[in-house]
C-alpha cells in the first residue's frame, strides 16, 4: 500500500468549521486517481496533508506504512524532497533560477539527480530551447511543463497535482495533462489529481469526491 488515510481530520485555527471530518481511503503504487469537489470542500487541504506540507489534527496519513503525523518538521521536509512531488496550479517555480536549474533543483536536493533521465524528460516536454531562460520568460503552459519536470526528476513515489491545468487554456491544458499522465505512468509513481474538471477527472482510473470535508 502506497498511501493509507484513516479518519483524517483538520480544522484551521481561524475557523470553527472542520475542513476535513474523517477522511479515509487508500492508494496503491502506480494508481492514478482524481479528487474532485466544490471550492472549500477540503481538496487542497487533503493534498497538503498527504504532501507533508501541513499536519492533520487527527487520524492517520501513512505513506509506505510510515505515519506522517508522527514526523517533525525536518522529517516532513525530507518526505517532500524525495518521496512526494507536488505540482501546483500556479507552477511555483523559483524565479531566481533558470529553467534548467529549476528542473534539476528538487532531484539534486533529494540526491537523486539522474542527468540522462532529466534530459529525456526535457525532450519529452519540449523544453530543450528554454533551459537557459528564467520562468518569467515562459508562457503558462511552458512553466507548468517545467514544474512537471521538476516534480518528476527525483522519481517520487507519489505525485500530487493541485489543479495543474487550472490556469491554462483548454488546448494547452489537454496537452499538459496528457504529458503529465504519461510521464507519471512511465515513472511508476502514483498520482492524486485535484481538479474541478469533470472531463479530466473522467480520464483517470478512479475518482473520489469530497463534500464538506467528507468523501462521498
Amino acid at each position: 500500500m502506497l498511501l493509507r488515510l484513516r479518519d483524517v481530520t483538520k480544522t484551521y485555527p481561524a475557523s470553527e468549521t472542520p475542513v476535513l471530518r474523517g477522511v479515509s481511503f487508500d492508494v496503491v503504487a502506480g494508481e492514478m486517481l482524481a479528487l474532485t469537489g466544490e471550492s472549500g470542500s477540503g481538496k487542497s487541504t487533503l493534498l497538503h496533508l498527504i504532501g507533508g506540507l501541513d499536519t492533520a489534527d487527527g487520524g492517520v496519513v501513512a505513506l509506505n506504512g510510515h505515519d506522517l503525523t508522527t514526523l517533525d518538521d525536518a522529517g516532513r521536509a525530507a518526505l517532500r524532497r524525495g518521496t512526494v512531488g507536488v505540482i501546483f496550479q500556479q507552477f511555483n517555480l523559483i524565479p531566481a533560477l533558470t529553467v534548467a536549474a529549476n528542473i534539476t533543483f528538487q532531484a539534486r536536493l533529494a540526491g537523486r539527480y539522474d542527468p540522462a533521465f532529466a534530459e529525456a524528460m526535457v525532450q519529452r516536454l519540449g523544453l530543450g530551447d528554454h533551459l537557459r531562460k528564467y520562468p518569467e520568460q515562459l508562457s503558462g503552459g511552458q512553466q507548468q511543463r517545467v514544474a512537471i519536470a521538476r516534480t518528476l526528476a527525483p522519481r517520487p513515489q507519489l505525485v500530487l497535482a493541485d489543479e495543474p491545468t487550472g490556469n491554462l487554456d483548454e488546448a494547452t491544458a489537454d496537452t499538459v495533462f496528457a504529458l503529465m499522465c504519461d510521464l507519471v505512468a512511465e515513472t511508476g509513481a502514483g498520482l492524486i489529481l485535484v481538479t474541478h474538471s469533470e472531463r479530466l477527472a473522467a480520464r483517470l482510473g478512479r475518482r473520489l469526491h469530497l463534500r464538506a470535508g467528507l468523501l462521498s
Binding site: 501546483f88 531566481a96 533560477l97 534539476t104 533529494a110
Partner: protein, 795 residues
Amino acid sequence: MTAAILSALLGHWRRNPLQLFTLLAGLALGTALWSGVQAINAEARASYDAAAATLGEGSLMQITAPQGARIPQATYIALRRAGWNVSPVVEGDLATVRLIGLEPLTAPKGIGPGLMAKGGDLGAFVLGGGQIFGRAETLARLPATGAAQVIAADTAPNTAITDIGVAQRLLGRAGLIDRLLVAPEQPLNRKPLTEIAPDLVIEGPQQGSAVARLTDSFHLNLTAFGLLSFVVGLFIVHGAIGLAFEQRRVMVRTLRALGVPLRQLIALMVGELAAMALIAGMVGVALGYGVAAALLPDVAATLRGLYGADVSGQLAIRPAVWLSGLLVAMGGTAVAAAGALWSLAQMPLLASAQSQAWGAARQGRGLAVASVGLLAIAAAIAVWGQGLLAGFAMLGALLIGGALALPTLLRLVLRLGQAYARGPVAQWFWADTQAQVPGLALALMALLLAMAANVGVSTMVSSFRLTFTGFLDQRLASELYVRATDAAQAQAITGMVQDRVDAVLPILTLDFTVAGLPAQLYGARDHATYRDNWRFLRAVPGVWDALAQGEGVLVNEQLYRRADLDLGAEVVVAPGVSLPVLGIYGDYGNPVGQVIVTATLFHRLYPDVVALRFGLRLDRSGVAALTARLRDGLGLGDSALIDQAAIKALSLAVFDRTFVVTAALNILTLAVAGFAILMSLLTLAAMRLPQLAPVWALGLTRRRLAVLDLLRAVLLAALTGALALPLGLALAWALLAVVNVAAFGWRLPMYLFPLDYLRLGGLALLAAALAALWPAWRLARLPPAQLLGVFRHER
C-alpha cells in the same frame, strides 16, 4: 470629499503600521543626528561669541606687543596722555578659569557682559577687594580671591571678569598689561603709536572670533558627520515612501476612476507627508538634544584641549536648532518623496496599477550609468578642481556615485558566486540573494555610506593624530620652553639656565608679509635639535648646511601653497634681501605662513629684535628642578614655562576625547544603517513569502531557510563592507588631500589602519546579523498555513 480621500489614504498606514513606523523612525533618527550635531555646534559658537563679546575681539582694534610679550603699565599711561582712547586688558589662567581684568572707566561701550547693568557696583568693582563676574559654575571653581562674586549667566563659559587691579594681583602681574583695546572713536590730534611705543603693533578688528576660525575644521567635520547620518536616514525614508506609494497605486487608480482630481490627490499626499515630516522632525530634534547632551562634555574637552576654546557644558534650547531640524526633516522628506510623487502624478488613469517590483531591476542600468557619471565627475574634480566648493562637490559625487554603484557591483559578485556554487541549495542561495538586491539596495546603500563615512573619518582623525603627535615630537624637541616678558627677563633667564642645560635655543620671531600675505619670520640657531628632528615635505640636498650658511630659507606648507613658493623660489626676508626656498616643512594647525632663517642671518637683518622665547635642551630628569628654579628665582608663571612632556600628554588626552566623539558618531551612524537593514528585512519578509514558499514546499525546512536568510544578510553586509573600504579610503583621501588643503592650506599625510577597518567590518556584520535575527526568527516560526496561503492566494 477631502475627508473621504484622506480616510482612504490614511487607511494604508493603518494596515501597514510597520511601514509607517519605518518612515517616521528613519526620518526621526536622521534628524536626530543632524540636530544633535547642530545643537553642539550652536552651543560652541554661542560660547565663542560670548568670549569674543567679552573682549570685543570681533569689533575692536587692539594694541599688542610682539611675540606675546606684555605691555608695561607705564606705556599704557603714556598712550592715554598722548590722547589714545585705549583700555587695558589682563588675561590669564587662575585655577583653570580664564580670568580677565578690565578697567571699567576706560573700557569701550558694550565690552563685557554689561557688568554694571547687571548687579555690578562701580565702586565695589574697583575698590577694596573688588567684584568678580562669571557663571555660577565658573565662580565655584575659583579659589578664594577676596573679591565679591557676582553671577552673570551671559558671561563666556569658564571665564571670570574682574577689575584689572584685582586680576593683576591674582595673576601676579603687577604693572603689566596683555593688550590694549582701542575704542572706535579716537581724537584726531593724537600722536602716532610709533612715536610713543614703537615696539607695539596695532591689529585690526577680526572678522569673527579667532577661536571660531580655528575650530572651524572641527565643526566642519561634525557637520559633515551629521549630514551623512541624515542622508543614511533619508535612504530609509526613501525606501519606505517608495514602497508605500507603489502599494497605493491601485488605490490611486481607483480613487481617480471614482472622480477624485489628481491634483487634489497629490496635494493631500503632500500634506500627509508634511505632517509626518513635522512629527518625525520634532521627535528627531528632541532625540538630537539627547545625543548632544551625551556628546557635549567630550566635545567641550576636545575644543578646550585642541584650541583652548571654552564651550559651555550645558545645552540651551535654541530656536535655530529646532528650525534647522524641522526644515531638514521636511526638505529631506520632499527629496525622498519627489520621485514617487512624480511617478504617481504621471501614471495614466488606465495604466496597469500593478505594483512595480520595488527597486525594479529596470532601474539597475540607470543607477549604474548615473554612478559611472558621478564617479567620473569626482575623478575630474580631483584632477582639475580647485577650492573648497570643488572639494565638497567631489565628496558628494564620490559618495553618491559609490552608493549608486553598489547594486550593480553586488549583482556582479553574486553572479560570480552563483557560477562557482555547487549543490542546488547553494545555487538557489546565490541566485535568490541576487534577486533580493533591488529590495535591499537602499538599506545596503545606507550601510555603505555609514561604513564609508566611518572609514573615511576614522582614517582622517587617526592620520591627524599620528601626524600631529609625530609633528609634536619634531617641533617640541626641547624639553622645556620658556617665555620672557621683556629683554631684561630674557637675559636673566639665559643667565640662570646657561650652566644647567645642554643647550639654549633662542627663538627669534617677528611678523612680516610675504607676497602680500601675513607671515612670521623665525630665526633658529643651527643645532642638532633641528637637524635630527625636523622632517621636510620637500627639500634640496644638504638643506641644513645651506641654511646654516644663510644661503636660503625654510617655509611652512601653508606659505608654500598660498604664495606658490616651491623649492628655489625667492622670498623677500628683509628690504632688498631675498633668498631661495631650501625646504618646505609641515606645520599642522598653524593658520599663518612661516619663514625660517638661521639665527645669525636674523640678527644681521633685524639687530633690534631680541629673543623672548627659548627652547632648553636638558636631561628630562632635570626639568622639574629647573622649572621650580625659574619660577622661584625669576617669578615666571605657569604660562611662561611649557613642559614638552606635559604638552604631549595633554595632546594625546585631547585626541582620546576626540576619538570618543568620533566613535560615538560612528556607532550612531552604523546603528541607523542597521535599523535601515532591519526595517527593509521586515518589510521584505512578507513580500518574500511567494519566493520562499516553493523552496519550502520542495523540501527545505523553515529553520534552514531562516539560517540561509541570516547568512544572506551577513553576506550582503560583508560585500557592502568590502566595497565601503575603498570608498571610505577615497573619502579620507579627499578630506585630507583636497578639502583640508583648500580649507586650511596644509595637507595631512594619509595613514592606513587595517585593524580599525577590521573592527568596523566586524561591527557592520554584527549590526547586519542583529538586524536579520528577528526576521529570521519569525521565518523559522512561521506557521505552515501562512506559507500554504501563498499557494491559495494565487488562485
